[in-house]
Structures are given as structure tokens and as C-alpha cells.
Amino acid sequence: MEAASELAVQELPAKEIVIALAGNPNSGKTTIFNSLTGARQHVGNWPGVTVEKKEGRLLSAGKTYRVVDLPGTYSLGAYSEDEIIARNFILHEKPDAIINVVDASNLERNLYLTVQLLEMGARVVVALNMMDEAQARQITVDREKLAGLLGVPVVPTVATKNKGVPELIKQALAAAGTGPREALKIDYGREVEAEIGSLGTVIAAQARLMDRYSLRWLAVKLLEEDDHLLQEIRRMPGAEDLLARWEKSLRRLREVAGEEAENLFAERRYGFIGGIVKQTVSRKTTLEQRLSLSDRIDRVVTNRFLGLPIFLLAMWAVFQFTFKLGDPLVGWVETFFAWLGGVTEGALGAAGAPEWTVSLAVDGIIGGVGSVLVFIPLIFLLFLAISFLEDSGYMARAAYIMDRFMHALGLHGKSFLPMLIGFGCNVPAIMATRTLENRQDRLITILINPLMSCAARLPVYVLFAGAFFSARQGWVIFSLYILGIVLAVVMGKLFKTFLFKGESAPFVMELPPYRLPTLKGTLIHVWERGSAFIRKAGTIIFGVVVLIWVLSVLPWGVEYAGQESLIGRLGSALAPVFSPAGFGKWEAAAALIFGLLAKEVVVGTLGVIYGVGEEGEGLAEIIGQQWTPLSAYAFMAMCLIYIPCAATIGAIKRETNSWKWTAFAIGYSLALGWVVAVIIYQAGRLLGLG
């Protein structure tokens, strides 16, 4: 009986109903998405781009619906990746309903997007969100009047308290069931309407365009000189008539109106919106002079003298939180994997498994994967702290404070966060670049991020610096961090100049009011990122781990990672490459290969190769004998710069969504590492430093 009812619920209609969420950033769209989908969400990328795509499932009255969270946008123009993605989804995927999340305190600005959705003829349901904040500011919105003027249902909500959400769902599902609706027609004035008409007749002749777009909408967009659509039309064969007519119309509009045509449209749209706002929104106090609580907090937080110290304090707190709580957890994870290794070895041995299987399972998989999964507690804690700061609104203030410094690097203020996190671990740092809206900024930040010396490289520095520079090891290690930062700045500038020509993105950002993050929202935020790391980066790590294991145990019977093994031989083959850098030994080369897994593994590898334990004296002594101070420093520089560790590579692939950029990151860092190590060694030799 149970099986039969299960089947009935699972039987879906041929095409599942799709509900899209659109709205301004900071309007509470994410909270509503979480309310609709709970834990049933999945984060990926929009195809071909680095923009995050969130999808989930809504369960209501026994049926499921697909919910797609479109990127937060202020408009649906052609000049930002986010907007194009949102627009194209609505135009071409044709969702059955769109929930437009609107901030009730900022109705006028939010309606700019709403009106564009309505002009597309979409089936919109407006979620008038953050009603509690509007009330606190003594702003009232006449919901019924608004619904009447817009022609769509308007549901007041307070998403953080889950108020109004059931009604919202009801209205959205109802809207999804209706047929095509009439698009909103704003009167653009006699001259403009005339041109829309005449351009429209030429468009009507193009069957391909008529299939894809509604006539009026396309005519309006073309007269607004929408770049994206123009490019598409220019690529179409047989579009010459249309383009000629378009240019004529444009010229006429400029003559008549005396200004850029697109201003005419914007004015009318804002005029329409202004009219609506006047009739539906009322304020008890004239708030221009009244300072809200957020403003008062900002007086301190963005203060030109206090701002930076407060920011540094906040960052210090984040790191303390992450590493103080994380270190013991990391210890547990390590112990767990050691235990797991022991148990597996015992079990497999008892089951009579062949030696190679045991070795693969224990040394290879458990040992290798384990050494990387120890990142997990750190990642979750770091993201917990950062999500809290982000959702509270503080991070926007931090971006403002850091913008001046980032500008000097040719970057955006928001780039500071990933750079800072990179000093802890590059993996969450690269994942944090998602908050950067501009693709260029994102790519550059991702590419230079591995130069921020992460915590894993520290054991290598401590070993070598301790062996050679004991008295001054602190300074030596510090110099490496500085080297990393300097290289990041230099490479950032180089990339900016040669790879990503063109103006940097205009810096415009909203400072949302301070809000107390909800536990549910923050946990979902953290889980999204953490589990994604485990899934995606994990697959690459697994592959690398198995590969290195294979290279260490073959040819069969050889000493694990000894000189005769494949890795040893590979090391020997590569060693000459490193002699200009001063460490042309097979041990060094082999250790560097292992460092691909995770940088701290370099130390362990050297321990194994030299046949001493990892612990202090033995290894340091041998290093002291076999290396020179100069070659040691060059080696440390190499460790800092060369190829990001496997987990980082996984993160880069995931965030850039491109093998090309991942390969570039690997390639340039290898090259840069080698070049810098060689320069250090050769220059040192010339200067007689030994």
C-alpha cells in the first residue's frame, strides 16, 4: 500500500512547474528562497560563466516544484553578466511564475526591476518583503492599491519570520497556472511610440526574432540601444533592413528629444514608478534628517580614523575563532583518519587482501585523502564567521574601508576578503571570490590568491628556517610572507594590464542596513559552501592521491617513495631543472611533487625520503648537512609560489568553471616559482651569500 502511494506522489506531470526568484540584492530574496526550499537546494554555476546558480525544490500539498534563484539585480539591462543571465532565463526558459522580492522600505528603486519584468509579460507575484523594517521606519505601503496599479498580486512578507510565505506560495502557484499575460505598456510619449511602431513593423518581418521575443519589448530594447540584443541581431543573416531602420529611428529620436534616446525611456519609466509610489507609499516622518540605528553604527564603523582598526580587529576575531576552535577539531580529524587507517589495515590483512590493496587503501586513499580533508573543520568555521559578518551587513562596510588599498592593486574593494582568508587557507579564499560581481576582478583575485602564504606552508618554512637561520628564523619566515604579497601585487598589475584590458568595473555598492543574521540562513549559507568543497574538490584530490600513491609504490616491491620508485625516478629526472635554483636533488623534486597534494606534506615526504621521522632534530640535521642556507631559501620560495595544492586546484576549477584558467593558474605559478627560485639562488651566489 505504501509503495503505491509513494508512486502516486512521485508521478510528476510531463513538465515540472518552474518558479523563478528575482529581486534586488539585499532585498531578502535569499531568505525567501530558503523558506521555499529549506535544505532541498543545490548550488552550481550558470553554464559557461562564474556566476553562482541556486536551484531548489518547493514541496507544497504533496507536489514538488522547481525553484530557481536568479542572481540579485537592480535592473535587466545588457551591461552586467548577472543581468543578462537573469534576463535570458526569463525570456528563453520561460518560468511559469516569477516571485519578485521587493524591499518595502525602498519601493521606488525596487520597482525599477519590477516594471521591467512586467514589460516582459512575465507572470509576476510581488513579495513585499521586510515589512517589519518598513514599519520601524514608519513607512506604510497600500498593498491593495499597489496590486491594482501594477496589475499583479502583492503579498506582504517578513521572510526572516516566515510571515506571509504560505500566502506567497499560494499566489505564485496560482499565477503559474494562468495563461500568458499581457505585458505592461508604458506610454513613452508620442515621438517614441511612433518609432516603436515603425521599428516594430520591420521586426515583425523577422520570423526568428518573433519566435524569441515579443515585438514591443524588442523594439523598446533596441531603441534603448541594448548592446546584448544588438550583437545578437548583427550576427543574424538578413538583418540589414532592420539595422538600417533602427539607426534611422535612433537618429530621429535624438533630433526630436535632444538627448540620448535611452534617457527618454528611463525618464518615463521612473515617471510611471514615481506615480505609483506617490499613491501607495506614505511616511509619517520626513526621514531625510533622521539617522537610523545603522547610520549611527556606521558613524563609528566607517569613521576615517576608527574604520581601519575596527576592521583589523574584526579580521583578527575571525581568525582567532577559526583557528582556536578549528585546531582541536583538525586534531580529531587527523586522529580519526589514523584510526581508520589502522582499522582498515587490520581488516584487510585479516581478510587476506593482497599487499598492494592494503597499501592503496591505507597509504594511498586514507592517508592521502585524509591529509586534505583535515581542511574541513577550518573551512566550516571560517565560513561560519564570514557568513555571519556578510549577512549582518558588516562586510559591505569592510569593502568600503579596504577599497583604497585594493584600488592600488587595480582591484575592487571586495577583493580584500578572499586575499585575507588566503593567509589561512586558499581554498575557502577562492570560494569567497563569489561575492565579486565583476568577472575580471574575480579571475584576477583567484589567480593571485595562492600567493597569499597559507597555513600549510608554515611547517616547511619552520623546518628550513629553523635549520639554517635559527636565530633569525622569525624574520626569514616573515620575509617570505612579504614576498608573497609583493608578488601578488606585481602579478595582479600584470594580469590587469595584459590579460584583462579595459576599464575596471565601476565601484558602486549598497550598504544594507545592519541586520541580525538568522541561524537558519547562516547555517544554510555555510553548508552550501562547505559541502560543495567536499564534493567537488574531493574528486580531484582523490584522483591526485591515487596517482601519487601509484607513483610511490611502482615498480612493485620498491621502497615506498624511495629513489627507485617512479616518484623517485621522476624526481631524479626533474632534479636538473632545479639545479639553477640550488636544489637539484631528486629528494627535493620528489618532495615538491608530493607537495602538490598539500603543501605541508613536503615536510613529511622529506622525512620519509631521508629515512628519519618528521620530528625536529633528525630531519633538520640532515637538511643542514645536505643543503645550504641559500638553496634552502630558494626552496622555500619555490614552495610558496609553485603550483597550488590539489584542493586549491579543485577550488579554482570550481569557481572559474574553466579548465583553461585552471591550467593557466597551474602553469604560471610553476613558471613563476621556478623563475623566482632561480633568481634568488643565482643572485645570492653572485652576491657571495653561498
Binding site: 539585480t73 537592480y74 535592473s75 539591462g77 545588457a78 551591461y79 552586467s80 522600505s105 525602498n106 521606488e108 528603486r109 525599477y112 526591476l113 521606519r137 513607512i139 540601444e225 548592446d227 540620448e260 535611452e262 534617457n263 528611463a266 525618464e267 521612473y270 526621514l287 531625510e288 545603522s294 547610520d295 556606521d298 566607517t302 576615517r304 559591505a396 569593502a399 568600503y400 577599497d403 583604497r404 584600488h407 574593494g413 565601476p506 565601484f507 558602486v508 555598492m509 549598497e510 550598504l511 544594507p512 542596513p513
Partner: protein, 72 residues
């Protein structure tokens, strides 16, 4: 008429014109920065971005941007 970057802390103004290419104008328009809107300068240090109040919203504009918004 002067660029937004020259407003002092607390000073108010009405936007008269937004210079710059179509992309910039569109972006600013979406955020409410468009002809006719009233705003108030909240923080203007000689260099670096500025913070302005636009209705209930608080916006940060880079210095380059701020110079393109002309107010009265």
C-alpha cells in the same frame, strides 16, 4: 552644478546629470542614481569612495563614479 565628489558631509543635492557611457548610466540608474533624485552626502574623505544617502538606501560610490554624477 558640481560633481558629487565635491559635496561636503551632510550636504544635500539633486542629481542633474549622469555623465559617462551607457553602461555606467544604466548601472547607476538601476540603483536609483538618476536625474531628479535627491541625495545627501554622508561621508566624503578627500580620496577614496564616498557614502551617500538616497532615500532609505545607503550607497558607496567610487571616486571616479562620484565625479560623473553632477548635482545641484
Amino acid at each position: 552644478m558640481k560633481p558629487l565628489g565635491f559635496l561636503a558631509d551632510g550636504e544635500e543635492g539633486v542629481i542633474k546629470e549622469v555623465a559617462g557611457g551607457i553602461g555606467i548610466r544604466e548601472k547607476l540608474r538601476g540603483m536609483g542614481v538618476t536625474k531628479g533624485k535627491a541625495l545627501r552626502m554622508i561621508q566624503n574623505n578627500a580620496c577614496g569612495p564616498v557614502i551617500v544617502a538616497l532615500g532609505e538606501a545607503r550607497l558607496v560610490l567610487g571616486r571616479g563614479m562620484a565625479q560623473k554624477v553632477l548635482v545641484e
